[in-house]
């Protein structure tokens, strides 16, 4: 069973929900796919041990064979190659390693090297195996690390993917093979706007989903109107609570300190796993 926790807007509580679920599970693999700013490990005592460096292919040009014809630059969908009068310029961090340039090169002047873009770490605590992807600072390609994370953790047992925010490629890569997705939102105009984008994305991906409303204050009826109109089920509401915020700011998840929330997250997990939803 693979559960993705996504959001649209950042800072709504993906980590809160993903960690809450993981902490009440008997045995779980938690995967922090927010590789630009992973934070699950902060609540679990550190990043653990290095599993591997993540590398991706990057294009190189054999200048003795190259005729500067420009075909590679024309086919590159990522703007990673420029062919000038006397040289070929490759912008490493733009290259997705797709191989198109190598296919069109008429003189076989293109080859690949591996380039490091980040790391994967593993932390074990209690029944939780936490795999965290870290994208190196300055690197723009988050998706290959998420792809690698998923290959490393496999598909057995209970898996929880803590997604990056937004609705772009890294989120799609995180969510697309999940059995179920929980969208976390907050009752603000910004939260609602980004929720609608996340709902559009998840429907396109055809992944069953529901919503958790975080920092709920019962003062933004637009959110409830939208959810009702779209027929979206709200699985849990977490109130806007100073106690929860205080614990969280110390790196303590409230499930660990507030027994009633342990129970509520257990119920949430059972609901999602049991397929009692949708």
């Amino acid at each position: 069973m693979r559960i993705a926790v996504a959001s649209g807007k950042g800072g709504t509580g993906k980590t809160t929900v993903a960690l809450g679920l993981a902490m009440v599970a008997e045995a779980v693999t938690l995967v922090d796919c927010d590789v630009e700013e992973p934070d699950d490990h902060i609540f679990l005592g550190g990043r653990g041990d290095l599993v591997e460096e993540v590398t991706i292919p990057v294009v190189r040009v054999d200048e003795t064979a190259c005729t500067l014809c420009g075909e590679c630059a024309r086919v590159c969908a990522y703007g990673a190659i420029a062919v000038l009068k006397d040289q070929v310029m490759v912008v490493d961090e733009m290259c997705h390693g797709c191989g198109a340039c190598g296919i069109v090169c008429p003189v076989d002047a293109i080859f690949e090297e591996r380039r490091r873009i980040g790391e994967v770490w593993l932390r074990e605590r209690g029944g939780i195996h936490l795999y965290t992807g870290f994208l190196d600072v300055g690197q723009p390609l988050a998706t290959p690390i998420i792809t690698r994370l998923k290959a490393l953790v496999g598909r057995e047992g209970l898996l929880i993917y803590d997604s990056p925010p937004g609705t772009a490629c890294p989120v799609v890569e995180t969510v697309r093979d999940a059995d179920h997705c929980i969208l976390v939102t907050e009752p603000t105009p910004f939260g609602l706007f980004d929720l609608t984008m996340a709902v559009d994305m998840i429907r396109e991906l055809d992944v069953p989903f529901d919503v958790v409303v975080n920092r709920d204050r019962d003062d933004f009826p637009d959110m409830d109107d939208y959810l009702r109109a779209e027929g979206i089920q709200v699985l849990m509401r977490i109130p806007d609570s100073m106690e929860i915020a205080r614990l969280y700011s110390r790196g303590v998840h409230f499930v660990e300190e507030m027994p009633e929330w342990r129970e509520r997250f257990s119920d949430l997990l059972v609901k999602v796993i049991g397929g009692g939803v949708r």
Binding site: G79, I81, V83
Partner: protein, 120 residues
């Protein structure tokens, strides 16, 4: 001198477009005769890498200089490696910008005007 200028207009009275990689089109102007032609920016709708593609396009047009508003680091590197002189942070109409450059009043850029955007 052949000069490439990003713009959203179609002639010399149009404004210099501030974003190089994401401009609508380029005016390719011969500053000696003021003859020009227009090329659409093929990089406009790219998800990322627009700067490199746009720079490649003006290189292919055979320009010797570029007059622009903002020029990001990747576009700048392509232009620099192609030995194309870059005049950046220029505002106003294309004609005024050309006058500035022709009268030697404009200062060449010594680097990109801002950080990489990576498609954002």
């Amino acid at each position: 001198m052949i000069i490439g200028i990003p713009t959203s207009g179609n002639d010399l009275s149009a404004d210099v477009e501030q974003r190089f990689g994401r401009c609508q089109r380029f005016l390719i102007v011969d500053s000696g005769t003021m003859d020009f032609h227009v090329v659409d920016n093929s990089a406009l709708a790219m998800g990322g890498g627009a700067g490199v593609r746009a720079a490649q396009q003006v290189v292919d047009e055979g320009v010797e200089a570029v007059i622009a508003g903002e020029v990001g680091p990747k576009a700048y590197e392509v232009l620099e490696r192609a030995n194309i002189k870059v005049y950046a942070r220029v505002t106003g109409t294309v004609r005024d910008a050309l006058d500035l450059v022709r009268s030697d009043m404009a200062k060449g850029a010594d680097g990109p005007t801002g950080p990489a955007r990576h498609g954002r």
